[in-house]
Symmetry: C3
Subunit: 376 residues, 3 copies
Amino acid sequence: MKKILIVLGTVGAFTDVALAQSNVTLYGLVDLSYQHLSSGDSSPLAGQSLNRLADGSAFGPGSRWGLRVQEDLGNGLKANVVLESGFAGDTGVSANGGRLFGRQAFISLASATLGEIRLGRQYAFHDEVTVLNNPYGNSLVTNPAAVANTFATGSIPLFIDAPRIDNTVQYISPTFYGLRLQAMVAAGEGLVDRYQGLKGTFANGPLNLALSYEQSKARVATPGVGAAGDAVNKIWEVGGNYDFGRFKLLGGYQNGKDLTTGSAGIITAPATSGGIGTQIATLTLPGLAGPATRLKAYTVGALMPVGAGTVALNYTRTKFENAAGSNRTLGRIGLVGTYSLSKLTTVYTGIGVSNGDLKDFINEKRVFQLGLRKTF
Amino acid sequence: MKKILIVLGTVGAFTDVALAQSNVTLYGLVDLSYQHLSSGDSSPLAGQSLNRLADGSAFGPGSRWGLRVQEDLGNGLKANVVLESGFAGDTGVSANGGRLFGRQAFISLASATLGEIRLGRQYAFHDEVTVLNNPYGNSLVTNPAAVANTFATGSIPLFIDAPRIDNTVQYISPTFYGLRLQAMVAAGEGLVDRYQGLKGTFANGPLNLALSYEQSKARVATPGVGAAGDAVNKIWEVGGNYDFGRFKLLGGYQNGKDLTTGSAGIITAPATSGGIGTQIATLTLPGLAGPATRLKAYTVGALMPVGAGTVALNYTRTKFENAAGSNRTLGRIGLVGTYSLSKLTTVYTGIGVSNGDLKDFINEKRVFQLGLRKTF
Amino acid sequence: MKKILIVLGTVGAFTDVALAQSNVTLYGLVDLSYQHLSSGDSSPLAGQSLNRLADGSAFGPGSRWGLRVQEDLGNGLKANVVLESGFAGDTGVSANGGRLFGRQAFISLASATLGEIRLGRQYAFHDEVTVLNNPYGNSLVTNPAAVANTFATGSIPLFIDAPRIDNTVQYISPTFYGLRLQAMVAAGEGLVDRYQGLKGTFANGPLNLALSYEQSKARVATPGVGAAGDAVNKIWEVGGNYDFGRFKLLGGYQNGKDLTTGSAGIITAPATSGGIGTQIATLTLPGLAGPATRLKAYTVGALMPVGAGTVALNYTRTKFENAAGSNRTLGRIGLVGTYSLSKLTTVYTGIGVSNGDLKDFINEKRVFQLGLRKTF
């Protein structure tokens, strides 16, 4: 997936290169699939089916190109830059609300002994945990964070997933005996909720575990949830996987409380992804009085290598609760097969079938996909 | 025009490179010209003249940068990605309605014996045929698809040209004795007309020929043209050129029937280039009752190499008809000279003069241009 | 700051390379700083303080990536392309109003003996002069062109700075005995004011001097300033620096007359930066009747190398006058320290303190910043 551009410093002559050399890597991924949707009877498509050519951002890895810069400063210190630009491969349109580097944009200083400080637009911790929870790392129909289009709300995720946070300062510890800690804050800057999160990961041979907790400080009061300054959108998530060699088991659990739409009324285009409340704004659900303020979701799955490919299966189920304790459920079983033409090029096919109270309210009640993915 | 970035896979070590190497080519073109327009008396400029610095997208090749990725998968199989981004060189603004990779975005698998499958945003077939029809391949004032600004309608092309289609699946056959076939479909995805097209090309030594037929299935009914589901915007085009050595002759003919504005009323920004009806939306013409629903256009031209440059001349004439059979005409004669400073850098000058019923309704009644183009 | 991508022409074989080789350099800079603002009592923040992670575009060098293309055409002739894309490193959002290459986009032919012709979007001359006037070249709190957010007007700069002009044709002379002349024009193209400017620079050992004069021809009449066709927004600026070895002294003066909002009423998104009147549109100031039509501003400063870093101090003061001769003042003292971890990576800290009549109307009455910058 990564390529090194051979890059030489131009400062004077080759004798200077050691002092002023950065490796610049231009990398990317394009994923497109044919998708056939069978919609629920109460969905916007009203039971009809739809054929589409869809970018990976719908049930796959979103297409992207990016620049990764690394400079060795000596004494175990490195400076890094990541600029990652998302786009829809079927239309060429920028993803992430039209941002140039909407997937990731950060600069960091990393010490081998003291850890790393990162500044910029970065992944939310629950999104990083979700990657461990399912067979293909937040892609294909096995992704519990993939969004389905619903009748009443526009869209609904099985796992809450506001993948990226603006204006973040993150600290990443060195790894001690497989354990690594991360802490991240983002001042609201007067425009959106203040964000803060903690995450721990443990990796030891075949075992990968992760735990995250995140919350926002509300910028404005939210009726039924709390006052300005209250902690809202409290999300904790645990997940991981274990590789038995012949196959890998994966699973995770997410719990969201005091869910709100974040800084209601002031969310504008560049700020919409600024808080973790973004996707939560959609949780007005058919048959549920008022918005869902609580979510409990789990996912379990397995992945098995088969020759040059893999086969994987998982199941995700979510319960959305409103303030009065009433709830609605949605689930999805996903079955996927992949075949790698090389380390960089893969064809895949998958099917996802929904169940639960809300299955007839979404366009993607049943999804079939057949796709091609190429990294560079 | 193409450059190879030397790129190495980082997967593990150099011994892996053979398995996981993609060539990534960063390429581009910038074209800017000084243009002097003499407008028609009934045009928006009301007979006045205008000086401007214009990007190639006005009577030239639009400025662009792009990434071309190619991976040899063995057994005659290749995986390709093309991501091409258009912009205005005079202002730095994105072209193609602000899309990041609005010129082209596709992924493909190509077999030496079975042909190629391409998924994404690709050129419409009539645009590819038009490239053969005129001396400088859809650039400079000899381009029959270049758009002129008109009094009543905003803009008008001599050849219909909706250059790119979203969400396409294209099959390109191998070449048999110089003959190659292409077929392309794009599901409307519930938002725009469904597109389908066929194209054949024949190349043999000095001779290049191409023929295309395209049509849409209307998503909604269009008054005076047809019901939802009817075939509309039927466009066929033939064209080619013959290189006599001392000079090259070029010509083409385009015929459009049942022209509509496509999915009237639902064309939104990302979708406007999704169907082939896009530019047809403008064909409300001065002196013609109702929109033009039929177009017949031809172009003839010649190109002669002269030292390190070329001289070329062509004439294009179009007849626009409404449903009642009334018509209006517009033509343009173009004369261009180019001089190549290298294989990658060219200066050029040209003049275009319009005639026909509509000549006094367009800003570009007469156009002079003097420009510089650099590829990389 | 610059890297050469090793690039080979693909035209045929290696024997062709000499004829068709362009060097393509992919370069960039990311700058992010933690900033603490103490606002004035009458500012939008009403005396409160604000913490933010800010891109270099606020009191620093704006983050960017770009492509620089150079081709040697022989006989002392070179063809060049610069495409430079700005973005906010804290959010990944495009800078310069969403333009793809909004910082710079031009193509040029440069002769060693005859000078250079550049076409495209280029820096205004007063912006180039301002670079010489202050310790860190239009970055950090010592930048006199940095914009502060104000109560009545949205924003206010100490030096007028409309950094870039669209549609420009610039001539740059060769250097004679350290002296170089530049002339630039941009036709208004019927949309914005016509621009014209002259600039001279002199460089000799430790001395750098620059002088510029720019004005627009108003496209429409401006009440209180003049008729359509009148010269408006007349800005001249002088500045320079002298390097004594132990330290460098820097200073500059800017004078603006007949300031208007440019083509009032027709300024649309892509055109807003098209004239030099852009930022001047904001000069409606608290306590001043009517807009300021005249500005006089100076800046003085010093920069001292200290080990692997620098320390610098400067002071800038501006007087804004309305047509009646009443005026309001604003000033800022800036103190900055930088430390270079390498030639490409720098940490810095700075403080800016405002004074003058307007100091309590701006958010950035006092600014502290602590940042990290990496070039590549």
